[in-house]
Structure formats: structure tokens, C-alpha cells
């Protein structure tokens, strides 16, 4: 029998080491983690001349160092984790452990890797090892290269620890990469916490000093909300929400956090989740000793939710683009009182001595196991709960503001009266008259606003009710009628043959035509209420015009109205909401439809046209109706003014308000080419 072994060509070192590590920083961080496992308190990374190839990187720590055996059986063995489950280091740390692949990548950054280590267990000894990677490149097999561990006496006064020097770097390490390394080192040992492990990695580079200064600013105390959620080792969660002064606003039990899954525990190691949210506006920051740009800069570097497993950070969670709790997605779906990665920072600390969470070999996070999904479920539940509580607070504030405002006005009025009474008698009368006049005009304005608010509320209620009915009618009743008519048509045609067309078909056709009109009512209502349309974004005005006309088309056909589109060349767009533009076009078309009610059926025409002059777009809607009658032209924009008994008088008011919000203006011509009135709006566009 012949025995044989699987052997490895040196090329495997390159594949395993470099190809599994996307950036030099990933490998260097693995060496820093080795220092943590060796109970170092300090670890310094020095970069020398790295902005070009041939430079040097040195990683030096004051840990326990290694014996010859540890070098041979641990440091030089690849693919085998030195970590024993549940083992703790001399300082009580849970080793970060690694399979050595990141270390391999780092060691191969240069042509030479030089190790010097001074073991704590032998205070007189120092060991040195030099790896010349060129020897591996020349060898056929990895095992063919012998490495010499030089054992010699330690210089007197030299402390324990390990120094690794990587010489003659193959590639330059650019500024971006240095910054990435600086950020990774700063975040590695939870700079935001108490740093109970006492581990301080330092990078000797200007980028590090800048970031270090930034990280030390610690703006946590200026957060508007601070969430602390804890998951016990039994999988039971609790949470507290604090205000900016550290007072508890709300507390939650497990069932409060998981109202839809009560009594279902979270199956993962124990977790502590802290999350700080900043309200970045002038009112909040007016009394704070920091500025919004400062906090923004800090959040821009360190924002996001970072994960710390057994004291060390696990990348890439919390890095730009790694929004693992979907903060931004949740905010986009439901923006009110939701944080985003731009205005919040968080930390998830996981105590995982059992290693239930396993990091991927390429260090791109945890393997997405059940335990990891459970942590994510816990984090999202805590954030959802926080949003609900913030909404509760916001609603209370709104209610309070409504009660306080009249009281405040009354106090101010009293103070004004007192001031007038204290004025010299000659002035008093004039002041009193002026104040009374002001009161009257203000009261009038308030009355108008109240009426307007009430009108909008009434219209909102009508809208909500219409939407409810639209949902219902678009669904089953219309469907039931359509199917029933279809059966009648089919079976009657079969039963009565030629008689069907004469006696039954006209009635069936009328029902079908009416059904189509009814369907439009539902579709239009639901289309207007689509919440996506209220987002602020680029709005293609012509697209909205076509969409509105398309939606109205069956209704227009039913009323014998011809609609003409005379849209200018190109696609003018504004920055606003689709709902705003839609509201303008819909109300103008509606307005024309009303104006055409008394026009003979074959003469009903509406024309929607656009033109662009410089950066202003004019959108006009005219019709062949009878023009503006029974109302002053200037009054058509006033709320509640209508010439119809059943009209709301709000359509053109909404158009005017919306256009003003867009920074534009409105206008009207009593006559147009089509004979009826022409209403136009002018808004500034961003492009064509």
C-alpha cells in the first residue's frame, strides 16, 4: 500500500488570503483582533510611506506574546480557529478567534512579514520569524519552504507583546483605504461605550487623528430620543425610551414589543440594543451647545447601527450602505417619526460565548442563521415600538398646541391692553383704535382660515368616504353586476337567437356602458389617493397631464366631451409632488367639465396646453363652455365661492394654493379661442 497526502501549491495562499479579503483594512483588522485575543491593552498600527508601493506597515501590541509552540501550532496554522468555545482569556475576554485567513492576507501585503514576539510566560525570551513570500513563489509546494524561528534573549526592560512588520508593500495604500482602516480601528472596540475591555487600537496616521477627534465628540447627550432595548438570555425583550434629558418616556414589555407574536420568545444570544435619534432642525438645536453641521458630520462618519459581538465590532453592519435594520426603507414606507441612517446612531451588543453567531470567512458579516434573523427581528420590533410611541407623543403635542394657542393669544391681548392703558392719554385713544382695527382684521382672517380648515376637513372626509366606497364598488358589487350581465347576455343570445339583438341587447348594452362609467368613478378616486404620489421628487408634468386625461377618458366620452392636448415639445419637469400637479390638472379639468354642462353635446371641447418660456412653464386649460358667469372674475379663487348649488367652491382655491406652494402664479382669461374661459398657471420648471 502506498500512502499519499493532499498537498498545496503556494498559489493557494494568494487565493485564500487575498481573494477572500476585499481590502487591506480587513486583513490588518484581523491582526488587531489577534492583539485583542492576546489580552493587549494597546495596539498601534504604523503606516510608513504607504502612499506608494514598497512602504511598510507595523502592528505592535503589549499583549501576552507567543511561545515557540504557539507560533508553530497556532499562528502559522491556517484554516484552524484557535478559539475554544467558552474559553476566556486571562483578562476574561472571549477571543474573537479567526481561521487565520485575514491574517494571511495582511501578512502577504508586503514581500516580507517579520514577527517579533515576547511571551509573558517567559519574560527573558524573544522570538523572531521572517517570512519571505518570494521563496513561496519559487517553491512547488507550501511545505517545501522552511521557516526559521529565532529564539534569543530579550533586551532588558522590554515588555511583553508582539510586533509584526510588513515590508516592501506590493501595492500602495491610498487615502481612502487609510480612512477605511482608521474608521474600522476606531469602531472596533466600541468607542461609544465604557470600553470595559480597556482595549485601545491606534493608527498612526493623520486620518486617524481627525476621526478620533470626531468620535470623541460623542454627541449622544444631544439626541432627542434614546432607545434602550434588552433581550435576556431567555429570549424575553424589554425596552425603554428616554428623552433628551434622560427621563424615561415609555417602557415596554416583551408583549408590547411583539404585539402580534405574544409569548413567542426571541431565539438568539442575549442582546443590548441602544439607539440614539437626532432631530436635526433649528428649533431642537437652538438651545444646544453644538451645531447641526457638527452633529451631521459626526453621524455621517459613524451613523448607522453597529454590531459588537463579545466586545468587538463585526463589520460591515452600520457601514455606509449596510442598513441591516432597514431604517431607510422603513422610513420611506412610513416617514412620520421614523429615523434614518442620516439622523441616528446605534449599537447592538451581543454576548455570544457559545458562538451561535458565526462570521463569514470573508468577514462580510454573520452567516444569516436563524439566530441572526432573530436579532434583526428584535431590533426592528424595538424600532417599530419607538416609532409608535413617538407618534403618540407627536399627537399629544398637536392636541396641546390647539388648546394652548387661544390661551396664549388671550394673555398677549391682556398685556397689550395694559400697555395701551399705561401710554400717555394723548396717544391712548389712537393706540386703542389701531389695536381694535387690528383685532377686527385678525379675527376676520382667523374666521376665514377656520372656514377654510373646516372646508378642507369636510372635503377630506368626503374623500375618505369616496375612497371607501370606491374600494367596495370597484370590488364586489361591480363585479357581481358585470358577471350577471354577462350571463344574461350569453344565455339570452343562446335562448332567443335573432330576437336577442332587437329586444334585449340595447338594454344589456346600456347596463354595460353605465358599468364602465361607474368603474371610472372608483378608479379616479383610488388613483388620486395613491400615497406614493405625495412624495417629493422629479415630476414630469406632461406625464401627469396624460395620466389625468387617460383616467378621465371614459367619463369624458360618456359626456361627449372631446379633450385636446397641445403640449409643448419635450418633457418639462418640476421638483415637487405628483399629487400637487395632479391636483392642479384634475381641478382645472373638473372645472371645465362643470362649465360644459349646459353646452350642446356636440360642442363640448376642453383643451389642455403647455408652453415654456425661459424656465417658466405655462399650463392652461380652456373650454367651449359659457365662460365665467354669475361671479366676479377675481372671486373665482376664493374658497367656498361657487355658482353651483351642490358645488364645494374649493377646486380653484386648491389650484391657487397648490400653485403658490410651488412658487408659481395663477391667472384667468374670460374668453379663449374655444369660447369659454381659460385658466392658466405658471410655475418655474427645473428642466425640459
Amino acid at each position: 500500500m502506498t500512502t499519499a497526502r493532499i498537498r498545496f501549491a503556494p498559489d493557494i495562499l494568494r487565493r485564500l488570503g487575498e481573494e477572500l479579503n476585499p481590502h487591506p483594512a480587513v486583513g490588518i483588522i484581523e491582526l488587531v483582533k489577534n492583539s485583542y485575543d492576546a489580552d493587549a491593552r494597546k495596539c498601534t498600527v504604523t503606516l510608513t510611506d504607504v502612499d506608494q508601493s514598497g512602504g511598510q506597515v507595523e502592528i505592535s501590541d503589549n499583549g501576552d506574546g507567543m511561545t515557540v509552540e504557539q507560533i508553530e501550532q497556532g499562528w502559522l496554522v491556517l484554516g484552524h480557529s484557535q478559539k475554544e468555545k467558552s474559553r476566556r482569556t486571562r483578562l476574561g475576554r472571549i477571543p474573537a478567534g479567526s481561521k487565520g485567513l485575514g491574517r494571511l492576507a495582511a501578512l502577504r501585503l508586503g514581500r516580507f512579514a517579520h514577527l517579533e514576539t515576547r511571551p509573558r510566560s517567559d519574560r527573558a525570551a524573544a522570538h523572531q520569524l521572517l517570512i519571505d513570500w518570494k521563496l513561496f513563489d519559487k517553491a512547488s509546494l507550501i511545505d517545501d519552504v522552511d521557516l526559521a524561528i529565532d529564539v534569543h534573549s530579550r533586551k532588558k526592560g522590554t515588555s511583553n507583546g508582539t510586533t509584526i512588520r510588513l515590508d516592501k508593500l506590493r501595492d500602495r495604500i491610498g487615502r481612502m483605504e487609510v480612512k477605511r482602516l482608521a474608521r474600522a480601528m476606531l469602531l472596533l472596540a466600541d468607542p461609544f461605550g465604557e470600553n470595559s475591555e480597556g482595549f485601545q487600537p491606534t493608527l498612526i496616521a493623520p486620518e486617524f487623528s481627525d476621526l478620533e477627534a470626531l468620535v470623541e465628540r460623542r454627541y449622544f447627550d444631544h439626541a432627542s430620543y434614546h432607545l434602550v432595548a434588552v433581550l435576556s438570555d431567555k429570549g424575553e425583550a424589554t425596552a425603554q425610551l428616554y428623552d433628551s434629558r434622560g427621563e424615561i418616556l415609555f417602557s415596554a414589555t416583551h408583549n408590547d414589543l411583539f404585539p402580534k407574536e405574544v409569548d413567542r420568545v426571541v431565539e438568539c444570544p442575549s442582546v443590548e440594543f441602544e439607539f440614539w435619534t437626532f432631530i436635526l432642525n433649528g428649533i431642537t438645536f437652538a438651545t444646544l451647545p453644538v451645531t447641526i453641521p457638527e452633529v451631521k458630520a459626526w453621524l455621517s462618519e459613524f451613523g448607522g447601527v453597529h454590531i459588537y459581538q463579545n466586545g468587538l465590532r463585526v463589520a460591515p453592519y452600520g457601514d455606509p450602505g449596510h442598513d441591516w435594520l432597514s431604517l431607510n426603507l422603513s422610513r420611506s414606507r412610513d416617514p412620520e417619526e421614523r429615523p434614518s441612517t442620516n439622523n441616528s446612531i446605534g449599537r447592538v451588543r451581543i454576548e455570544d460565548a457559545e458562538e451561535l453567531l458565526i462570521q463569514k470567512t470573508d468577514r462580510s458579516g454573520f452567516i444569516e442563521s436563524h439566530a441572526f434573523h432573530e436579532i434583526r427581528r428584535f431590533g426592528k420590533a424595538a424600532l417599530d415600538w419607538m416609532q409608535d410611541r413617538r407618534m403618540e407623543l407627536a399627537e399629544k403635542k398637536r392636541a396641546k398646541a390647539r388648546t394652548i394657542a387661544p390661551k396664549r393669544t388671550s394673555k398677549t391681548k391682556q398685556r397689550l391692553d395694559e400697555t395701551i392703558e399705561a401710554a400717555p392719554p394723548t396717544l391712548r385713544k389712537q393706540l386703542r383704535e389701531a389695536a381694535e382695527k387690528y383685532d377686527k382684521s385678525r379675527d376676520k382672517e382667523v374666521d376665514e382660515l377656520k372656514k377654510e380648515v373646516q372646508l378642507y376637513r369636510t372635503l377630506s372626509t368626503a374623500g375618505i368616504t369616496a375612497a371607501t366606497f370606491a374600494h367596495e364598488s370597484t370590488g364586489n358589487p361591480l363585479k357581481a353586476i358585470t358577471l350577471a350581465v354577462s350571463t344574461i347576455e350569453r344565455r339570452a343570445r343562446d335562448r332567443f337567437a335573432a330576437e336577442y339583438e332587437k329586444k334585449i341587447m340595447p338594454a344589456v348594452d346600456r347596463i354595460k356602458s353605465s358599468l364602465e362609467s361607474l368603474s371610472v368613478l372608483g378608479t379616479v378616486t383610488l388613483s388620486l389617493l395613491n400615497h406614493e404620489k405625495r412624495r417629493i421628487a422629479k415630476v414630469d408634468v406632461h406625464g401627469v397631464v396624460r395620466s389625468v386625461v387617460n383616467t378621465f377618458q371614459p367619463f369624458l366620452t360618456d359626456r361627449n366631451v372631446t379633450i385636446e392636448l397641445q403640449l409643448t415639445h419635450g418633457a418639462p419637469w418640476i421638483y415637487g409632488s405628483e399629487a400637487a400637479v395632479e391636483s392642479i390638472v384634475t381641478n382645472l379639468v373638473n372645472n371645465s367639465l362643470v362649465a360644459l354642462e349646459k353646452t350642446p353635446a356636440n360642442e363640448r371641447v376642453i383643451r389642455v396646453s403647455t408652453s415654456v418660456m425661459d424656465d417658466v412653464m405655462r399650463l392652461s386649460v380652456c373650454d367651449s363652455g359659457s365662460g365665467i358667469r354669475d361671479i366676479r372674475v377675481a372671486d373665482i379663487w376664493l374658497p367656498g365661492r361657487t355658482t353651483r348649488n351642490d358645488g364645494t367652491g374649493l377646486g380653484l382655491t386648491i389650484v391657487k394654493d397648490t400653485v403658490l406652494d410651488l412658487g408659481g402664479k395663477v391667472g384667468v382669461s374670460e374668453s379663449s379661442e374655444l369660447g369659454g374661459a381659460e385658466v392658466f398657471v405658471e410655475v418655474r420648471i427645473m428642466g425640459v
Binding site: S326, R331, S332, K479, A480, T482, L483, R490
Partner: protein, 220 residues
Amino acid sequence: MPLTLDERTLRRAAVVDDDPMVRAGYAEALEDLGIEPWDVRELTGNLSDIWDSKFCDCDAVISDLKLMAPGYAPFNGGTLLAECWRKKLPAVLCTSYSDVSQLLPRSERRRVAAILPRTHFDLGKLREGLLRSIGELEGRFTPERRPWRTQVEIVDVPNDSSYVWIIVMGRSPDEKVMVYTKELPAEVQGQVQPGMILHAKVNTGAKSAQDLFFDEWEPK
């Protein structure tokens, strides 16, 4: 006499809708096609648990998309049709909604061979829908429905929105297709940005963007 389509005999079809009057309408249409209607009065419970008791004697299914009446079913018609697809049962989805994108994820749309809008309902369309469903179950696709492994590019990520705009290689570069972010692979949902390239199975021959399905997304 039972209806035979593409060598498959359809004797009985389940009628699923949360409104009994609508079910009655579909039942009449099926009767006129020569198929015995099977009135499904409720679908409470887990779909896989109730499958045998509700559908095992059926040769086809007609279902509404929204099954929202209290106590009728804990899932919608898209989910039901996806299960029919897995069980190799021909099925047609009938709906009143002209835009089904919010209720029917684009991945599920691959398993829904035929969507019949209420406004176009007649025996011919129903028969055509059943025929198309049978064809797809046997691997025959119309050009509009055939899935191809395709490259798609995210071209626009509107601020504060739950969707992205993408363009599909092989279709017009001017056609931007809205896809909800939650329908993208989980690992990219938090990092979508313009220029991101992904691969999925897409029916690139679809007539309109609304009919496109995206399925079997590949890890980035």
C-alpha cells in the same frame, strides 16, 4: 360534456371569491363552458393544510385576487395561484383592479399565467386564460410570458420611497419599470443605488411594463 383543452379534460373547477354573488356569476360562466363549478365558501386555515379538502377533486381554479372579506381566507388570490402552479393545477385570476402591482408581487406574477380583468370577462377570455395556464404548466410559453435570465439595472432610487426604477436589458432603455424595494433580493434592499446591476428571470417579451415579472434574483 366536460371541456377539453390541450388534451386536458376539465370536469370541475373551484370558484374562489369572497362574495357569493360573484362566485355565482363565475359558476354560471363555467357551466356554460361545460365545467362543473365547485363553490368554495371559505378557505380558512393554512393553504397546504386545507388544499386536499378544497381542491383535490378539481381540475382548475378561478379566483379573485383580493379575498379580504372577514373569515374568508387568510391569503390572497396570488398566493393561491402560486400554490396551484406548484400543484400543476390550471388557474385563472379574475380581478377588478387594473393595477395589481401592490397586491401581486412580481415574483408571484410568474406563477399567475392568466389575469382576467373584470371589464374583459367573457367565455372566450376565460377559456383562453385556462388554455394559457395549461400551456405554461407544461412548459409552453407565449413570447410575452417566457422567462429569460436577464440583466436589470437600477436607474433611479427616489428619495424616501419604497420602490426603485429599473431598466431591463433587451427592452427599451426609455422604459423605466417600478419595482418595490421589498421585492429585490434581501441583501441588496438596504443598499440600492443607481447603477446597481442585478440578474433575474424576466419575461422580457411582455407587452407592457406592468406585465413584467422578476423572479429567481441572483445574489449580487
